[in-house]
Structure formats: C-alpha cells, structure tokens
Symmetry: C2
Subunit: 484 residues, 2 copies
C-alpha cells in the first residue's frame, strides 16, 4: 500500500463515523472529497479492494462498489494489471460542487507545511491542479507545427491568434466589448499600468487607487506617476473619487475588490463611469480574478457598461494558469491604441512568442475553459473545507467572512481577541505564516491611519490535510499567546 | 526527383565549368557549398546516384564517391530504403569555413523573393539554420522534468539556472566579469535601457548615443530620458564625449559598431572608461552581435577592462537564437543591482518562465555553443557569397566593405553613382528591398545633417540563389534608373 494512502485512510477515512448513507455511499463520498481537495493527488495508486476492506472493516463488495462508482464518474481509473488510480485528468463534468460537504475528520499533523519558502503570501489558485503534462505536450506540439515564420513573429500588440482567442473569451464570459485589434498582450497588470501611465498621463495627472488595495499596484503607480491618491472602499466597493481635477487614472477592482472581496453593484458602477466622463478621467478595470466566482452570476463589466470609451479592461492569465507564465492583457479603447502601442515599442518592442504560443493553443483547444471550470469546483470545495477547519479551531479568535468569489478569505479578530491586547494582525499573520498558512495582515493593505485589523487568507492552494494541521497548530499558538 | 533539387542541379551544378580539381572534387565542393549556403536545406532528398549521374553527364561512380565523402563529413545522411538526404543537424566540426570558395554560377531567377513581408530590415541571422525540432523537444523535456514549483517561479532577476549558464558563457567567451547574481534577465536591450534610465537617472541627466547608431535605441532613449545627446563615430568607433557634465549614460557598441561595423581598439576603450570615471558616468556596452565574429579574435569587453564599476554589459539572445524569443540580459555592477531590481519589480514583476526554461536547457545541454559555431560558419560562407554576387552585379554602383563580424555589410555609392544624381540612399534601399534584399539607407542611422549615403545590407539570412537573383534584378533597376 502506498504510504501516502495508508496515512490518509487511517486518519481521514474511518468509515462509519458519518451518520448518513450506506457504508458504500459514505466511502464513495469520502474518497471523492479527498480527490477534489487534493488529499489524494492525481495518479495516486489506491490499495486493493481486499486490503482496503480489511483496513476499513467493511465487506470487500462495499469497497468494490465504491471504486466502481468512482471509476464510472471519472474520479478513478483502472490500469490493466496495475490496479486502481486517481485519474490524472478529472473530467470536470463529473465533478459535483457539493462534493466537499463531507469533510474528513481532523487528526494529528501528517505532513510538515513547506509552503512558505517560495510562495507569494495570498491569492494562489490550486497549483496542484494545473495539467503540467498537457502543457508540456501542447507547447511541444505548437512548436512542431509552427513554420519557421514563427521565429520572426514580432507584433507589438502580441500574437494575433492569442488576441483572437482572448477576444472571444472576454466577449462570451465577461460581457467585455473587445475585438482582437484592441487587445494588447502584456506581462501583467503592472506592465499594463506602467504603459498606460507613461503613454497617456502628464506630469500633473493623478493615479487614484482603492484604499484598502493591492500593494503591488501601489508600487507600480508610485513608479509611474508623480501623484498617487486614494479613494476609500465602502460596503459597495470603491467610492466615487471626490476630486474634480481632470485627467485622472482610477484603478478599481469591481468584480471582486481586493482585499475585501466586495462585488460592486451596478449603481456604483454607473456612478464611477459618470465621474470618469465628467472629469475626463480613465478607469483601469482590474479584473484580476473574475474567473473564480463560485456562486451567483457575475455582473457586467464596467467596460461593457461604459461602451469602452473611458474604461480600459485588464486581466491576467497568471492566476488562472500559473504564476510564472506572466501573460495578461489590456483591452484598449480605439483611440488609445496608438499612443500605448508606441510606448510598448519604445520600451519593450514586442512580447516573446514562447508563452503566447502555448497559451493560444491551451485556449483554442478548449483546455483553458475546462481548466477554469475544474478550478472553480476545486476552489469551491476547498473554500468550504477551509472555512470548516478554520472555524472549528479558531472561531474564538477570528470571524471568517465567506466569499462567493476569489482566492482569499478575510478573517476579522473577535471582540475577545481585540480586547485581550494580544499582538496585532502583523503578529497573527506571522504566526499563521509560520504554521504553513498563506496569510497577509489586512492592515498592510490600507494606506491610511484608519487601517482595519484582520487576516487575508489564501485558501485555494491548500489540501484539507494541510488546512487541518495548520489551523490546529495556529490555535495552539493563539492559546499560548492569548491565554484564552 | 524533388523539384527544388531538380532546379538546383540544372542551374547551380553544371559540373565541368570549374577549372580545378577532378570531377568528383568539383561535385563534392558544389554540393557542400549549396548545403552551407542553404540552397539545399536540411532534410532535402538528393536524387539517386544513377539519375544524378545521367543529369550531370558524369559516371555514376563519380557521383557515388562524392556522396560518400559528404556522408563521411556529415553533410549528407542515408536512410535505409529511403535514399540520401541533407543532414538535419550538420556536425559543425566537419564544416569547413573555406567551403564557400566555389560559388554556384549565376542564372535566371528561380524563386520569387518573399522576404520583405514580415522581416525587420537588417541584422537577421540564418533563421533557416535554427533547430526548430530540437527546440520543441527541449521545451517539452524541460517541462516534463520540472516540478510543480516551476509554476510559481518568481525571481525578479530571472531564472537562476539561466543566469548561471549566461555567467559561465560570458566569462569564458566574452572576458566579462560576471556571476549569476549580477545578471538581470530582460526582454532585450530596450527594456534594459529603460530600466537603467528609469532607476538610475535624474531629470537633468543625459543619455549619449552613437551617431550614426541604432534607431531602436534612440526611440527607447527618447522615451526614457528628457535629454538625449550624441557622440560621433570616427574610424576607431565612438568618440569620447566632449561634455564635462556629470552623470551621463553613454551607450556604445565597441565590439562591432552599428551600423559601421568598426571594432573599437583598446586605446579608445580605455579613453572611454577614463571619461566615465572623470564624469561619474555610466557606460552601457551594447554587445548586440558579438557572437558573430568570422575572422580574428574579439578584443576584451569594456566591462572586463573597466573592472565592472562604470560599465553595464548588455546582450541579447534574439539574434543568436530567434527574434521572437525576446530574451536578453544586463550584467550589473554590484551597487546598481538593488535600484534596477526595484524598478523591475515595480514595472514588470519578474520574467516569464516559459522562454527562460527552454533557453537554459538549450545552453546547458551545449546546443547554444554548437548553434553559434554553426551559424558563424554559415554566415561566413554566406557573407563571401553575398559579396561575390553583389560585386559581380553592382560594383558599378556600390563599393561593398567587407566586415569581419556581424550580420550586415555597408555598401557605399561609387563616385559615378554619386555624380549621376540618381536618387539617394532612401531610393536605393527601397529598390533593394523591392527585389527581396534586406537593406536600410545608411543616412537613416545618422542624427545630424552630415549623414553619409549608403546601404546597410543584411546578408546572413539569404541563400546563394536568393542573393544571385536579387542582385541581378537590382542591377537591372539601377541601370534603367541611372542610365549607366
């Protein structure tokens, strides 16, 4: 029996502790949850039905029936003479979003957390779900089928087939008005903001950012513009800026405000567009993680509502595929294409074909849509699991706000913790980080004295076992520090 | 018989017109030249020895002996039951640089020139020699062997294994003092110059460029700095700037001045370094095509001489591999790493892993060194061929200056052409472009009234047949326009 599975089944799969369903149904549900949450990674070999039956103290037929059902659903696959394995490529149409409703039981730590070394603090998708083999195959195929002309491809807007694929996707999925000629391929929103500021803004113009907001963009804005101002975020999202100065560049995240997770209602969206028209300002709509909406329908994009004249829409593939890809895009209003493009040509010539070629194929062959759908379900399941463990261990100290979208959750300190005078969110974040969680102090995202305290927790790249272990450890630390 | 070969042998391989060597030696030399110059592309199927013998009116044994010798030398390969082919991967140790001494005979046009559409004007290497299949295989292998950690790789200096490979290469081949921690991966020299100017220069500092010089850098400099000045190029290369102002950034190409091809002697190099120290200025050493030196040994780099304090060394892989790769590097003096890196993080975060992963493998597996050696020999052969055809057809109008390095040749108008009042180099370049040559007017590289007239001709991406056809056509145009 594989060591990893042996550990899992002795801790996670004690069949019989669930109160609903037959033994077969319970076993089926637990295995499915473990697969969805990543506790049983792709290609893991399952124990033989005989060994598993003995271990679980159920009949072999019960195990066989559960395995069979999971094979039929696409979670497992059998290989002749080799046994039963977790599928390498889960067919997402089989994945049910309620799969995570039966969480595995908590237990003692099993794997030491090793996440903190190379990870950015929050906002990672389920990296373990990325189809690395498929990507390698696609890259290779794309190169093999390319003509030598691809070696000289030098369009400063970016690779045309990729821009076409993005236009199709945005029109269908994000109600963005875009054709390929408006789409500028960039390395990410930071390059996008730099290009916009350098090409369209004068020395006296101001970049206005959300407060609280993403620190990376603040750094970029400070590097790009002499003046940076802030607009507060209320319960409807970014407020309409009070300035009556002309020619501002407002950067907002209406789909899912960072870090508070607010979805901006239509009325506020309209008010922002009206302000932009009145002050001759531009809005950069940062739709950084709009692909990850787990409940409800997304609202129309600002760009779609505005008709495109005052809004530049920006998105990135790095969160939806993998961080190191570094590919994003701007959807530019027609009259802004020329100046922005001129700046790109002067500072960066044109983007490399390497990543673009692979991504274009990934999208046009349907893998991108499939990958998003799969991630959405995995993330939804992981969010539930995360909330359950976090609340079980840490509800004395923090109140976790559920979010219908995104890759982060906000945890607010309880009144008891606030009154205990124990640390502050910098200290709590450090403790969370040390036990392997992905955590940022909420106060670090504020640009003013009135910073709120809390934790910004990335949940999507954690398996159930990792969360269980880490939240348990964090609770012990909180207890020893706070004394309650 | 393959149509392409049939054409070639009827036009290029009329054995017996050479005056030296046996028939077998002549046949061998002509085939080898055709392979080196790209007239017989890799994987071309050769006619059977019997058919070729009939066509050439020689004995079959003569053909067989020539084929055998070429197989032994690695130019040809036989496949069981399929015939004899031009090798896919010419072993460069077998390639002899005097191979081009027997040029094919001129003839009527065979292939319409189709180069102008997507090509930048000059400076392309032999794109047809790039091992596309190998690249596809390496990319795929690199991904298959990568761990999931690669998906999160986010070093703002660039992929560490790539930086290590570059440091090793530069130390050995370019006498540059570099370790991996000094190397910043950029998309190219334009991004490099932008980052340097934005992070190290104040509003009153000046970028000084060579005159004549590369237009792309001028555009970048104008976008990055308020003041741009020029230093003239004399027969020793860039002159020491006359300014006594402090804190300038001088951009020079001492290995092979663009466009004039001058290699700066050591005395001038020392004078530039002395000036930089006296004025507290920085020098950006643009070593854009140092890999392509065909005769003689390269001089020590400015950076190597200066000891690194006042010189940033910059290079690019786009000319040595392929244009669309977009990978280059800066070698930064220790004390400049932090400010430049900070700017990179603010504007561009970190470079994509895609191209870096493939290139790192390409270098560390030895393919890069092999590819450069092969290109050098192909380019040297093509330069000779180019000069021969150009002089044969156009010596009445232009004097071609041979160059020991680079990818371009400078053609000056003859006194007769100057006195004829026919056009100017803009007109000549357009005519050359229209017949399929890669040509820039020399005057376009000058930033002052005293612009010299001439053509800057990219030779390395042209096969003998293409050059023969195009120069012949250009001569006809020049004749009809000038009347002599």
């Amino acid at each position: 029996m594989e060591p990893i599975f042996e550990k899992l089944i002795t801790t996670t799969f004690a069949v019989g502790t669930e109160t609903t369903g037959t033994l077969q149904q319970q076993l089926h549900a637990r295995l499915r949850t473990a697969i969805l949450c990543g506790d049983l990674p792709a290609a893991t070999r399952l124990p033989s039905s005989r060994a598993f039956a003995v271990q679980q103290a159920v009949s072999r037929n019960t195990v066989l029936a559960a395995y069979e059902q999971l094979v039929a659903e696409g979670y497992l696959e059998t290989r002749r003479g080799a046994g039963t394995f977790v599928s390498r490529d889960l067919p997402d149409s089989f994945i049910q979003s309620n799969a995570a409703q039966l969480p595995p039981q908590p237990s003692s730590p099993m794997r030491p957390p090793q996440k903190q070394a190379s990870h950015p603090p929050t906002g990672l998708p389920a990296v373990d779900a990325f189809p690395l083999d498929l990507w390698a195959r696609l890259s290779s195929t794309a190169w093999r089928h390319a003509s030598k002309d691809i070696l000289l491809y030098r369009d400063p807007m970016g690779y045309k087939p990729l821009r076409r694929a993005i236009a199709t996707y945005l029109t269908a999925a994000r109600s963005v008005r875009a054709h390929a000629d408006q789409i500028l391929i960039v390395s990410g929103l930071q390059q996008g903001l730099t290009l916009i500021a350098d090409s369209l803004m004068n020395a006296r113009d101001t970049i206005i950012l959300e407060n609280p907001g993403y620190g990376g963009l603040l750094r970029t804005a400070r590097a790009a513009a002499p003046q940076v101002a802030f607009t507060p975020v209320d319960q409807l999202g970014a407020c309409v800026p009070e300035t009556t100065q002309k020619n501002n560049l407002l950067v907002v995240s209406p789909s899912h405000q960072y870090p508070l997770g607010i979805t901006m209602p239509t009325a506020r969206r309209l008010a922002l567009i009206q302000w932009a028209k009145a002050t001759n300002s531009l809005i950069l709509e940062d739709d950084y993680d709009s692909e990850f909406r787990y409940r409800g329908r997304p609202l129309n994009s600002l760009q779609g509502i505005a008709g495109g004249d005052h809004v530049i829409y920006g998105g990135s593939f790095s969160k939806v595929t993998f961080l190191a890809l570094r590919l994003g895009y701007l959807v530019l209003p027609e009259h802004l294409i020329e100046p922005v493009l001129k700046r790109r040509e002067a500072t960066d010539s044109f983007p490399s074909i390497m990543a673009q070629l692979a991504l274009a194929k990934f999208i046009s062959d349907g893998h991108f849509a499939r990958h998003i759908r799969r991630l959405r379900k995995i993330h939804a399941a992981r969010q539930q699991i995360y909330i359950q463990y976090f609340n079980r261990h840490l509800s004395r100290y923090f109140t976790l706000e559920a979010s219908p979208a995104g890759l982060d959750l906000v945890a607010r300190p309880t009144l008891e913790l606030q009154q205990s005078g124990t640390g502050g969110d910098n200290i709590w974040a450090k403790a969370a980080h040390n036990v392997g969680l992905s955590a940022l102090p909420l106060s670090a995202t504020y640009r003013s004295q009135a910073a709120q305290q809390g934790l910004l927790l990335g949940f999507a790249n954690f398996t159930a076992n990792e969360v269980r272990t880490a939240t348990h450890k964090l609770a012990q630390i909180m207890l020893s520090e706070s004394g309650f």
